[in-house]
Symmetry: C3
Subunit: 676 residues, 3 copies
């Protein structure tokens, strides 16, 4: 796997020199040097500037700015400009433009506005990428490739339909197999010819059930279309990677991901990326643990490897409903937050705030004011200065004893299926359980359920509704060999085609969990029940409210930890623990209060021997990166007040370059990086 | 009118054997026998399984299962599979696919996804139905025909436009007449050629005024399009019936209706059905009276006849926002509820819970667990056993002294017209008045305003906005001959083309009611007024709040019962009673508190001599079915607690097969069927 | 500029005789005479009635009714019927029908349903208008022309795209200039051929960001499309005017505007109107100042000129969510309200309430009852009688010392741009500042920022986000020469292409205001801050809450009036005053409580020497019209109770035709017109 040759914390961001006259470039260089910028990403979105017509290329301006940057010590993350095709391409080749889920043929404009299965788009993309790779393959400025930008929307055109049928043939070989897997006998959907299969859209199978909540009438098809579309966009990415690798096999390639972005199965994507990079845009209302989750999810795409924070913003965005300025200290704290979770860079969107169009009020390293004598610029300068002291952390990794399982296909199926309740948000429940893990004050891995789990002491899998038999076996093996596994209602129910595992819920997990779920009751929003603990469990005791879903459970060997207080399943088990092989599995059959989730996770973490990295007060985050036997402990105070921390030994702190031990004060929004 | 030859309470449900391998059929038969199932509906949705290509039919599997069922004593409600055409048909004949209200040509998928005026759809439907009728005409298993399934969506394609123009020519003969009836002089809509008439959709006359509330700019056209679409779908139904009757004239034919389903004028449809059947899907939040209303509405489609409960679900559905499990005793109670209102069957959707696609979490008689050792299955078994004792009730009927008028065309016009307030829900007001009638503890008929009303002592017609002169005369005659008629604001205002009856509101009813309404004031949601009674009226006295609409009324002979407390119409009449012929008409010019509605209905019911079937406590429903001089009184305790009931005489109770008299305890969720 | 020859207050309304048989006309005339109606507008929407086919015209009915009216002393505001083309035209020439923002080709129906750049629509419109102008040019009944009706919706078809490209060529001459102005380097939007430019719609650049809030990804394009569409519709208007002026140069021409109607830049439109006319439809919930604002906005389109109230409704509308009846006295009070703000007419939609279609429940001068013995009709009669006494006011004008700046292009850019917060409503903030001016009890002009401002003592410009350099200079000159200018956050930021004025916010206004805004912070809805005054300012003192936006401001010479209480900009200036030339400019960098806005406006109005016309109690509105040295003071009591007013001298009151002086009682909903 190719690695970044520049052995420094990357500092810089997206740079769009083509939006400015060349005299502005001089000032850019001067400001970059002031900030200690050492890397910029470009020329994202510059396809039209680089290829004004089908047979004309104009790389000269790009040559000039790359040379100028490099001669000033600034490296380049070279981007392919394929996220926005030129207008002439859309005009000349109409197949380039996509069809949306309403069946509307789109017109040229915006960005990411192309069909991923358009032959002409692919040809044109291949051509511009090959031109770039050939031209810059020997340029010493180039330290990484950044493919396209924030891959995204699906297409529903006839070219996609054709490609989808080929994809299906590849997957299922015969229509008989497809008919069986999709349960097409339902509603007379049996197909007798591959050409009868239409893409699922608002013109047939899909509909907006509630605002923002899409449902499907035919999940087998809809789920495969999501897989296919994720693959179609991945194929574009892979097509570009292949060209680049021909010319620059040793330069790492990435594309900027977007955290929990539903349309693309990033677990699959990450296999084709040398390094994971992603764009982090919290609002000032986002809690630290929810941001931490995204970092861990992104890092978990490639375990045991650091990642690149490809974009964040110095202050406010333009596209959120309310774009508040980042409060003093927050951009620095969030930068260290990324590093604490495994980032080897602090990169921003964008370098210079644009003069027009929709992102003009998105903050940047150089504001509209045109100078750096601002609150935000001072903070950016401080970060740039401090990062120079952190190079020893580069490529260190976050090792975790605990893992949260997260799966894109499960996300798709869980939310698009119909039943029980139709307002289920996977992320909402993931958030509750991640928060409980986060509060253990230890590193958390967020990984795909297919990963080798043997390294973990505790594995948590909320609402793991869909999985295949291999994955079920993977989890079973983990427990059999001594692991502790916690899962919840709506888990283990269906196979990879969203077909129910017959014979009794929870399907794949029935034996592992030692239970049979007779019914899955959904509670209206105004309904509550409660669970009562059989006996104290760590910090938990007595009665706690629950709601949302209440499974009606029979133990088949599992020990009852808590039972329901009310309703017709009063006295029946709500939470159970099962001994399986050398391990334990725990089932939470309802949504209890958050403190129950946290109490249970703490109880089993203690049982598993999971220890906090350091015991720190509420609101202080602690993580650890490891490299060559050295440990780097990050303390981040997200509170608005100072806290005291008792250090168990003396540490060297990297930012202040001083030794600390005993009781130390960590000021509000302050950070310590302790080397052990 | 053909009758069901099987003289038993039908017990069973929708059966989809083609979704399962034949070895599962053996278990199905065994389980059916355990439950005492005697009838299953099939093969709904199996068109693609029965006709894999245009010239190939594969009825063999259906032969086998029908034979197997019959040889095990189970009869078949034979369904035509035309609710879901095969994919090859849509592919070969694009006219088969509909255009939606947005003007989007649909693609193949989902169900009920065809154009009702497509020549190719009609040809293909005729062909498969004829094949089936011919093949099974002599099979003794067949006890009823079930045409298609839940007829529904409208189409807006050019074939429909053409057919619409023909329908209009038939209705109006000349464009002059059409122009007059539609008031086309408004907004320059005058038509000079039939071809100028376009179907009303979101591309011209229709728009979504509020979420879920469609409005039209041109009601004459829009109203007729609804009539036409209801007729177009009815024509499909009639086309199938005609074929079947050719081969099996003595087997009753039905299609499963959906209660108050707005798109189709079921009063017209019922004329072509031997027996009414419908699908009842209450949520656990629905109140007993609102379910009772639907039964009475469906029974009212064919007065003096029992109906078929074609579908209900053993526990939860999949398609509601929150699909709670039915609480213990509820599926039994709801089954008896249907019977109490005139059903001769207890049928479920569906037999075996499906393994995949959107309905997989819809409950069924055989759950995913694959065995019957469940709470729900035990209740189903109990019902199946008990029904064996009820055959004497078959074909008994519910006779009523009171009627609620309900009209589909009125519903369409009331909600799609613009004015006064644009958030009017017909069903909401119907619910208030039905609830008041329901509380009389007597049978209630819900019937079309064109029915002969002479049998009733009390007729209630909330918001009867649209009617034609014959219907107005029908009501007038009823009152003239001694009836009591209660109506409300927004009644009598327009003719069948939504044209205002000029000369003073309430138009058709002005003379009958003895009032003139000078103004119809709409109150914002935060506005309230009150009515004050002139003198006590039954249980009512003094001041009550009102809101929504306040008519500004002048009596023209009517007696004032209550007047407004506030606003510029303070002191003016709000509720009036008029003597007309030998009867009385009552006008309620606003929306008072529910207790006023109930008090007024009770007052006039008493006046009319309407008696409760039995005096029973709150929360206990009582109805009566009659046959051959025998009366069957149903007592249903919807409370969560036991109640005492004083029986005025001794009765034989059918379920327990015991005699009861004097004070008896009716347990929570319990039922008695008393024969008198 | 042509003037209305009839020197009377116009009284009457929209008349649709073609919706009625001719025998009804007799009654119409009789009723009109009863009411003192002297003018009716027609034949709006009668195109199909006047031209049944391409080569046939049927003006005879129109001749008859015009003659009949005129012979009864009733004049005609002759309308062109082009708001609704005949169905045969749409059928024959499909280019007549528009394409909507979803890319859907519309079908015939509704109204205002044509493409403004359709060659065939233009040809046909020219033809019918020329026919009318020629036919009626010498008819003495005609006192004004009313072009089309409520011009409105945009089109997105290919004919519009072509015309748009021509419009752009005209505006920018070269693609280089356009690329620069639109900042097309952003997201690779560079155009190399005019034909590459697509209209912005939901198929590319536009999207619905929140319900009802449209956002654009590419403001340069989107803003110009709005200008172009406003111009396209204006061209239709001008095309008709040109034809009419050829035949009737001395008859004034207008079209009925709709107050703050976003799609059309009425400031540009007004240049082509002899007289401004508009349609006023307040709901009973609208506050007097918000209605007053609309009158002042419409009057401000042509300063120093009276306007025509072309439509209002006698009681309720049909199209609002809740259409309450106007309370007693309100239609009279609202009629005088219009006059108080500069109207020379009281005209209604409509004369006779229609019998069918969507406006049938819209109130009219002749109700469905068919007689005039109603509460509403009596009030209409009273108004008709009283207006006879007001002719001396005709053509008098409202002169103001204070002005509010309002600009359509600013509105478009402010709401469609992305950033800070995306829920900004221009009208909401305009309302706050207008209300403060309104409470000064003086006339208020609402004018375009390009107007000569030298006549004003005080000019207020909330959220004046977009302006060009000339406009910025206009305002600067005004202050330099002694004016007082008050503006707010989000002002001065961008040029006419929505490009940021670089070098420090607030861009154009930085020097004028003597401030630099380092940051623009957006507060979530649950966030609050407060401002604290440096020292008392008129009635203001101490601490007041603020929210929404908080600018982080540095004074560059301006005096700090108030500073922030909290957050990281605690103690920094929130409100500042700057002396510039002989004038003062005031900057309000946040949204304070309404009383602060009112206190500040009052403080600076006092400083500027702005005096109330008369000191009157809360809830009483006072305005003044002036003509030939005479002043007419209007007192309108919007309270529900009587008030005492101290008159400083004796006045002649026009309605009662009496003298009043000293303490007088103005009854609830009552009006006085005092001549000085």
């Amino acid at each position: 796997m190719a690695k970044i040759k520049l052995k420094k914390f990357l500092y810089g961001g997206d740079y769009n020199p083509d939006q400015w006259s060349e005299d502005v470039w001089e000032q850019d260089i001067e400001f970059m040097k002031y900030y200690n910028v050492n890397a910029v990403s470009m020329p994202i979105f510059s396809w039209a500037q680089l290829q004004p017509s089908e047979d004309k290329f104009t790389f000269e301006w790009l040559d000039r700015i790359i040379d100028k940057l490099y001669s000033n010590g600034i490296h380049v993350i070279l981007a392919t400009p394929t996220a926005s095709q030129p207008a002439w391409l859309s005009k000349k080749y109409p197949d380039v433009l996509p069809v949306d889920i309403h069946g509307r043929k789109r017109k040229h404009g915006a960005r990411q506005n192309y069909c991923p299965n358009s032959p002409n788009f692919k040809n044109a993309a291949r051509r511009i990428v090959e031109q770039m790779a050939k031209r810059y393959k020997d340029h010493p400025a180039i330290i990484m490739w950044h493919i396209s930008n924030e891959y995204g929307p699906y297409c529903y055109c006839e070219n996609c339909a054709k490609a989808f049928r080929e994809w299906l043939k590849e997957r299922y070989k015969t229509l008989d197999e497809l008919n069986k897997r999709w349960n097409t006998a339902f509603w007379g959907h049996t197909f007798y010819d591959w050409d009868e299969i239409e893409v699922p859209s608002y013109l047939n199978e899909e509909y907006e059930y509630m605002p923002g909540r899409q449902k499907s009438s035919f999940q087998g098809l809809s789920l495969d279309y999501k897989r296919f579309m994720s693959d179609s966009l991945l194929n574009l990415y892979k097509m570009e990677v292949e060209i680049i690798k021909k010319y620059m096999p040793d330069v790492p390639v990435t594309t900027n991901l977007m955290g929990p972005f539903k349309p693309l199965d990033y677990h699959k994507w990450a296999q084709y990326m040398d390094v994971v990079s992603w764009d982090n845009y919290p609002s000032i209302k986002d809690s630290p643990h929810s941001i931490a989750f995204k970092h861990d999810l992104m890092r978990g795409l490639k375990r045991d490897q650091s990642f690149i924070l490809m974009e964040q913003t110095p202050s406010q965005t333009n596209w959120q409903w309310y774009n508040s300025a980042k409060r003093p200290g927050m951009i620095r704290l969030l930068s260290y937050h990324a590093i604490a979770h495994g980032a080897d860079s602090v990169l921003y969107f964008q370098w210079r705030q644009s003069v027009g169009s929709c992102e003009k009020f998105h903050s940047a390293m150089v504001p509209h004011a045109g100078h750096l004598n601002t609150r935000v610029s001072k903070e950016l300068k401080q970060i740039g200065d401090e990062l120079l002291r952190l190079d020893e952390i580069l490529e260190s990794v976050n090792k975790s004893d605990v893992a949260l399982l997260f799966d894109w296909e499960n996300w798709w199926a869980l939310e698009e299926s119909m039943g029980f309740r139709n307002d289920i948000s996977y992320l909402e429940h993931i958030d509750s359980y991640y928060k409980a893990l986060y509060k253990l004050k230890t590193n958390v891995d967020v990984v795909d359920p297919t990963e080798d789990l043997s390294r973990y002491k505790l594995v948590v899998a909320p609402l793991l509704y869909l999985l295949d038999s291999n994955t079920a076996k993977n989890i079973e093996e983990y427990v059999k060999n001594g692991g502790i596994f916690i899962t919840t209602f709506l888990s283990g129910l269906v196979d990879e085609n969203d077909r129910v595992i017959l014979g009794g819920y929870p399907g794949w997990f029935r034996k592992l969990l030692g239970i049979w779920i007779e019914e899955i009751d959904a509670l209206f929003p105004d309904m509550k029940n409660a669970i009562i603990l059989e006996k104290p469990l760590g910090t938990l005791d007595g009665r706690y409210e629950c709601d949302f879903i209440c499974d009606v459970i029979h133990s088949e060997g599992a020990k009852v930890l808590a039972y329901y207080e009310q309703d017709y399943y009063k006295g029946m088990p709500a939470i159970l623990e099962n001994t399986y092989g050398s391990g334990k599995s725990v089932y939470i059959g309802t949504r209890p209060e958050q403190k129950v989730i946290e109490g249970l996770i703490k109880y089993y973490a203690d049982m598993a021997g999971v220890k906090p990295i350091l015991p720190v007060p509420e609101g202080v985050e602690v993580t650890k990166r490891t490299k060559d036997g050295k440990e780097y402990i990050f303390l981040l105070n997200f509170n608005n007040y100072d806290v005291c921390i008792e250090l168990p030994q003396e540490f060297y702190e990297l930012i202040t370059q001083k030794l600390f031990g005993g009781r130390v004060v960590l000021r509000a929004k302050e950070v310590m990086i302790l080397r052990k």
